[in-house]
Amino acid sequence: MIDTLLDAIGDSAVGMFVAENATAFPWIEVIHVLGIVVVFGSILLVDLRLMGLAARDYPALTFSRTILPVTWTAFIVAVVTGALMFASNPHGYFGNTMFRVKMLLLLAAGLNMLVFHLITMRGGRMTDGPGPLPGGARMAGLFSLTLWLAIIACGRWIGFTMAPF
């Protein structure tokens, strides 16, 4: 069943276009890398604030609220361009170990964010003021930073372990 789905993605007009057009894949990859770069850079700002290592005089929740829209916009760009790259060679990506690890790490980063938003932030111990945050928030920042560094590394390793199309 999964083979049928992968075949359908690869044979779709979009998949064929990205695979066959000489400049489509490089341009999509450029935009993907720019998206990932901004996701990581903006998440890093929030993580450092959560860990209390930077911007300690900026109210923590206000800081997150002002930076995270940038993160989400860049994340959507990265997901769309990532899907387009996947469509150019679905069997190749699906069978690539580093791609699978990257997807698992993305899932873990998402879960970490959910736990932070639904449990840590709603636990009542986080206030929107300057200064250090509770241990849960600091741990969420540390996990997030580690996961996103690993996601970048996996993304780069995909390029070294398979031909793009």
Binding site: P26, E29, V30, V33, L34, I36, V37, V38, F40, G41, S42, L44, L45, A54, A55, Y58, P59, T62, F63, T66, I67, P69, V70, L149, I152, A153, R156, W157, G159, F160
Partner: protein, 162 residues
Amino acid sequence: MDDWLQGIVDWIDGLTIHAAVQDAGWVVPAVQSVHIAAVAVVLTGALILALRGMELVGRHWSLTRWSRYFHGSTIAALWVLLATGLLMILAEPERELMNWIFRAKMLTVIVTLLIAQTMSRRLRRGGHSPVPVGGGVRLTAILILLLWTGVATAGRWIAYAG
């Protein structure tokens, strides 16, 4: 210039460290990963300053305060970019030095650094007090963001063309 750079490429090709880096397959992707993380620090700093100039993010701090916040991390990231960039040249000298996109990228880096340094000095000249910021500074922040984006774009295109 091509002959001179070809001489450097040939010299690097003969170095023991070049062979060692080539043999260890993990070095290039690892160095590229660190390079990308450092690009993230520089580019995101430029993005937030440009957005703050447009009053779109971070209004709790002035543009001067944001500029001071990013100054140290940007300088540190630029040193990391230099070190990892040199390692990438050591690993694949022909791919980098003989590529016109790489040369255009380096030229753009120098121009961007000069503009960014001028803006940063202007914003930080008042010490901890906010400096009055006009349209020129806001436009310069956008220009710096566009230039760094161009640099990152060129960096990825080195793998495909040139």
